[in-house]
């Protein structure tokens, strides 16, 4: 019996075509990313000035400024995380470490998955009626932050659960076997080991909060005033606290309004600031992840 020679490589047109197709698909996503960010940066950086970043838009003088919106964004991010992180992490810890795999856990899971797929404008509608009218919070940063809390809660919860699931069972058995209580085991071993995954969820949540406009337009409103600071510490703290109950538009809301008003020059500049902030956040998170890895691997 004669063996066929090895040197008879056939051309396989489908192989080549398939390889080319997936190559092109990945190239396309890279091109889109570079294209959009590049376009926005080129169009936007020209309009960014120190004044743009540190003043408030003045329709009379026809100047643009986003200082108020930057502050509002910080408020919304801070308030939302303050509510959503404890609630989301707490819910995930309960479901993963206490509840087992019963009915209640399945129900909460289903609810979270459905919530995370809901269009944000529905959260806006609900938030406006429930927080704004029923609870009487009106157009306020608090009302907006509570609305966004509902929106990012499932995100933080599912990321935390994923992180908790990847914690080795050996940590749990090891700690319980030494006589640790369940909460002590969670506090000293499970949560620290899950921290990178939990932070990943928080970063995604910040991204959604910073980028959200529809849910905030009807709840936090679009005001762009700066807090009036006098220099007296107690009075200023009071002023900053009162701001929570006042209306305030974030960068994304301002961007939406700038586009609506046809003020594209300012819109591109605002978009630039937004994107730069998100990129910085991602870089910081990655650097943190690498540092953590280096510390535990040694």
């Amino acid at each position: 019996m004669t063996e066929e020679s090895l040197y008879s490589r056939r051309k396989r047109p489908f192989e080549t075509a398939a390889a080319a197709a997936v190559y092109l698909a990945s190239a396309l996503s890279a091109v889109i990313f570079i294209g959009i960010t590049g376009y926005v940066f080129i169009k936007g950086t020209g309009a960014i000035s120190w004044k743009f970043l540190t003043s408030v838009s003045d329709p009379l003088k026809r100047t643009d400024g986003i200082a108020g919106n930057i502050i509002n964004t910080v408020y919304i991010v801070g308030l939302t995380l303050a509510a959503a992180v404890p609630a989301g992490v707490g819910a995930a810890v309960y479901l993963n470490e206490y509840a087992g795999c019963g009915r209640a856990a399945a129900l909460v899971n289903f609810a979270a998955e459905t919530l995370s797929g809901l269009p944000s404008v529905i959260f806006g509608l609900f938030g406006m009626v429930f927080f704004g009218e029923t609870l009487g919070l009106g157009y306020s940063l608090l009302s907006g932050a509570l609305t966004l809390t509902f929106m990012v809660l499932p995100l933080i919860m599912s990321n935390t659960r994923e992180a908790l699931r990847s914690v080795p069972e050996g940590y749990r058995y090891g700690a319980l076997g030494l006589g640790a209580s369940r909460w002590r085991m969670i506090r000293t071993l499970v949560l620290p080991a899950a921290m990178p995954g939990i932070l990943g969820g928080v970063v995604l949540a910040v991204g959604r909060i910073v980028g959200e406009s529809a849910a905030l337009l009807f709840t936090a409103g679009s005001s762009r005033f700066l807090p009036r600071l006098s220099g007296d510490l107690m009075a200023d703290l009071g002023e900053l606290g009162k701001k929570v109950m006042g209306s305030g538009g974030t960068l994304a809301v301002e961007l939406y309004l700038q586009i609506q008003n046809g003020n594209y020059r300012a819109a591109f500049a605002t978009a630039c600031v937004l994107m730069a902030a998100l990129m910085c956040l991602n870089l910081v998170f990655r650097a943190f992840g690498r540092m953590k890895k280096m510390l535990t691997a040694g």
């Binding site: 090891g174 319980l176 076997g177 030494l178 691997a297």
Partner: protein, 258 residues
Amino acid sequence: MIGRGAMAEYKMAAENLELYYGNRHVLNNISVGIREKAVTALIGPSGCGKSSFLRCLNRMNDMAEGVSIQGRILLDGEDIYDARTDVTKLRRRVGMVFQQPVPFPMSVYDNVAYGPRIHGIRNRQRLDRIVEEALTGAAIWDEVKDRLGKSALGLSGGQKQRLCIARALAVEPEVILMDEPTSALDPAASFKVEELVRSLKQRYTVVIVTHNMRQAARISDYAVFFLAGEVVEQGVTDSIFTYPADRRTGDYIRGRYG
């Protein structure tokens, strides 16, 4: 098998223990005595219930889904499944070492100090002394004394297992349960752990699950043979291995069951 009057001589004893996982009957009417300051080996084919029995001895089964237990397990005459039992205290007195050595992601020192800290020891000098004693007791002090502050994840497999034994020793238990502690280790590391187990019985009561019949013969004083959720035979290791009373015991020891 064990008369009620004879219970006093045992450190731990199971009386008519029944264990179910959901509908599955895992342990059937188990009565076993564990002698103080001796090594007792639990042997038997995979799935015979010996590891499940081991986990009953410090209530590590409590966490599993759908567990129900009947009968009694006594530690110095007190029922560990009594409603008044403080599980933290129980696990302090009955420690456990697992098949997969999983050090916590912290320094060697903090791994060993984890248990004592749970039980409220904060004093640095006292912790230092406990850590050194535990690591010495687990025959790993010389290998790690210069790297106590470094992560325990960098240790070799055998070192990790001895560290986990040190971690268990640091809470000064009376009984140490070991679930196939050498099955994830290479022969040289296994040998060191075996040596260690033999030395531990001077101070501790050791119960060890093993698949390795030669290991059981080398390190244990007493042996309990499990088959399909029941205890077929228990007694002095040498006599069980030389003159098994039950044909099934002899068959297993000579390698007829998986």
